[in-house]
């Protein structure tokens, strides 16, 4: 389990450019020689895309809520309505 966690951490450090030159070279070599490991790295990259997707979904909901709330303010609503009248 500990090894698995260390590997996950190492992949993260690679993806975020935090490895030193020697570590990165050794990581790149491992990537070339081990297809299963390369797939794991790809999936961890995709995991980060998914985290961003999740976070943006929450942010968009928050922005929609702000928009709806502002439209309950008479001055704001009147102004917007007039623009698109």
């Amino acid at each position: 389990m500990r090894n698995e966690l260390n590997e996950t951490r190492l992949i993260d450090e690679y993806l975020f450019g935090q490895l030193n030159e020697e570590e990165r070279r050794s990581f790149d070599a491992h990537l070339l020689c081990n297809e299963a490991f390369a797939e794991k790295v790809d999936r961890q990259r995709s995991t980060h895309r998914l985290i961003r997707l999740f976070a943006r979904k929450i942010q968009r909901r928050r922005l929609e809520a702000i928009h709806r709330t502002l439209l309950t303010e008479p001055e704001f609503a009147h102004y917007i309505k007039n623009i698109f009248a």
Partner: protein, 176 residues
């Protein structure tokens, strides 16, 4: 009694959106388009701010209006691309169908994760997207200190990664 301070994003929204809506209207756009592009720009603004990469040279409002205009023009050019006449050679561009399939797949995986691993997603979001410190995360999410939160973060990352593996395999099986 002291009034609670308003969220600065609400204040910025109230000040900037009417100006942007006016700009979009003058360029022939709709309210829905104005809102969508404005939200895209606000997302960029918030993400850069949290990552410490927001460099505002004039005012936050001017920065936001400039970004929103770029987002709107980008959205418009994508829309016109999808309306190109038959026979137009579009091979040099990304295939919108492939992009859509990818997005659909990601949305499906995300929906499954939101049902089974929401706590993990919240922890990962707090660290990677909100850029909170591990001490902050430990306090907010109830871990016994930063060390415990850090271990859990890597466990969660591995868990989501393996979930992705299972989901992709299922998807490939469907495609066969």
């Amino acid at each position: 009694m002291i009034e609670p301070k308003e969220d600065p994003i609400v204040t910025l929204y109230r000040e900037a959106f009417p100006h942007f809506a006016q700009m979009v209207r003058a360029l022939g756009g709709t309210l829905e388009e104005a809102k969508d592009s404005f939200h895209d720009a606000l997302l960029i603004y918030l993400e850069r701010e949290r990552a410490g990469k927001l460099h505002v040279h004039s005012t936050p409002k001017a920065y936001l209006l400039g970004t929103a205009k770029i987002c709107w023009l980008h959205m418009r050019s994508k829309a016109s691309f999808s309306l190109l006449p038959d026979g137009f050679d579009a091979s040099e561009f990304n295939d919108p169908a492939t992009d859509a399939a990818m997005e659909e797949r990601e949305q499906r995986v995300l929906a499954s994760l939101e049902r089974t691993g929401k706590k993990c997603l919240q922890l990962l979001k707090a660290f990677y997207y909100d850029h909170l410190s591990m001490d902050d995360i430990a306090a907010r999410l109830g871990f016994n200190g930063r060390r415990s939160a850090t271990v859990q973060k890597y466990k969660c990352l591995g868990k989501v990664r393996e979930n992705l593996k299972t989901n992709l395999k299922t998807k490939e099986a469907y495609a066969e």
